[in-house]
């Protein structure tokens, strides 16, 4: 499996290159885009928005709330020890435990969802292109046989800008 790519100086140029690649028949799945910073200004950065992430946070929070509600009540019921003339388990102090565990659930769910959905543990290794750190944007194609159309898009002037990775 090879990859061919070219470097573009800004988001506009990168967007153009991606559009041309799509016209050239390359599917979105095979297009490789890498950058050293978020691509907030163009369409490239808008897809895969992951708008379901807040729902995962909420789900984590609900789980945390459940644990937080159950824990003080169940443990107090297992061995009711009376203190200070108040019941063994009361709502006002339990609200604090419920709140903290809700937030903990939300935090852990968000972090886990980020790590899993961004493919941070699995996933292929990076393309080590130092220019990414300088602000260049990498646009390329994952392909086993290079086609002339793709090469034309990536390097219209034939200036030898195309790099390959195996």
């Amino acid at each position: 499996m090879k990859a061919l790519y070219s470097l573009y100086p800004d988001q506009g140029a990168a967007q153009e290159a991606v559009d041309l690649l799509r016209v050239a028949g390359v599917s979105d799945r095979d297009i490789i885009i890498r950058s050293g910073e978020p691509l907030d200004d163009c369409e490239l950065g808008q897809r895969d928005a992951g708008t379901w992430l807040p729902w995962i946070t909420t789900a984590g929070g609900v789980v945390g709330l459940g644990v937080g509600t159950w824990l003080p009540r169940a443990t107090a019921a297992s061995w009711p020890i009376l203190t200070g003339g108040i019941p063994a388990a009361s709502w006002w102090p339990n609200l604090i435990i419920m709140f903290e565990l809700t937030m903990l659930g939300a935090i852990l769910a968000t972090a886990a969802a980020l790590i899993v959905s961004a493919g941070l543990i699995t996933g292929s290794t990076a393309i080590h292109e130092p220019a990414l750190a300088e602000g260049w944007i990498l646009v390329g194609v994952m392909t086993s046989e290079p086609s002339a159309r793709v090469e034309n898009v990536l390097d219209p002037a034939g200036a030898g800008r195309i790099r390959t990775v195996n």
Partner: protein, 229 residues
């Protein structure tokens, strides 16, 4: 019926002799503090005699008040303990479980009467004084809180004996070390659930009041006001 232990302290009878303090030390294996330790605030007195001066010289009066754990029904020291070392028993006592105590000292801060004490160092008794330790009472190590227990070891012993004999514990059978040693019988201990017991009758006295009653701790020690000038 389950007992509810309380005490009455007659401030008219108390002479400030401190026999109760000494007896409490002996009964409950309380370490004696050296002068240096006492100066550093490490002296432990489960029972203490508070002494207040009243008036200006030459019309000065001395007032004594024996203060021990008030065994509050709504003790502020109990809910704050993270390990349930301080909790309430069915007989109304505030129990201190030394083994559960990790020494956060929150209970001592929460106690408005300052009747809770802390083992700052491992106590030691020079030989042969270790022979006088009471085998019925734990010797506490460093880092745990302790306080007056109404001599719970004597309460338990009396209850076991009564049960073995098939009888009830009679009023006046149980005497904590302080009540036992008071020469003026200023300290009376008994069951507040028995309306005819000596302590119940004294608790109903017109002279009676509770210490820091306005805080709502519901202490079970009634102080009978001093009437003699």
């Amino acid at each position: 019926m389950t007992a509810r232990w309380g005490m009455a302290v007659d401030l008219d009878r108390c002479t400030g002799c401190s026999a109760c303090v000494v007896a409490c030390h002996a009964e409950n294996n309380i370490p004696t503090a050296s002068p240096d330790h006492a100066a550093r605030g490490r002296a432990i007195h489960w029972m203490r005699i508070e002494r207040y001066w009243d008036g200006e010289f030459p019309d000065v009066r001395l007032k004594f008040r024996p203060v021990m754990c008030q065994q509050c029904d709504e003790a502020p020291c109990e809910p704050v303990c993270p390990t349930y070392a301080s909790h309430h028993t069915a007989e109304g006592l505030n129990a201190q479980v030394y083994n559960r105590c990790i020494g956060t000292r929150y209970c001592a801060n929460a106690c408005p009467y300052n009747v809770r004490f802390f083992e700052f160092v491992n106590p030691a008794w020079d030989k042969p004084l270790h022979l006088q330790l009471n085998p019925d009472v734990s010797v506490r190590g460093v880092g745990v809180m302790e306080k007056c227990t109404f001599c719970v070891q004597r309460i338990k012993a009396a209850q076991l004996e009564a049960r073995a004999g098939g009888q009830e514990v009679g009023d006046g059978t149980i005497k904590p070390a302080c009540a036992q040693s008071c020469p003026a019988t200023a300290l009376v201990f008994g069951d507040l659930n028995d309306p005819e017991s000596a302590v119940s009758r004294l608790a109903r006295s017109g002279r009676g009041s509770k210490l820091l009653e306005e805080l709502g701790t519901q202490p079970k020690v009634t102080y009978l006001a001093r009437q003699t000038p």
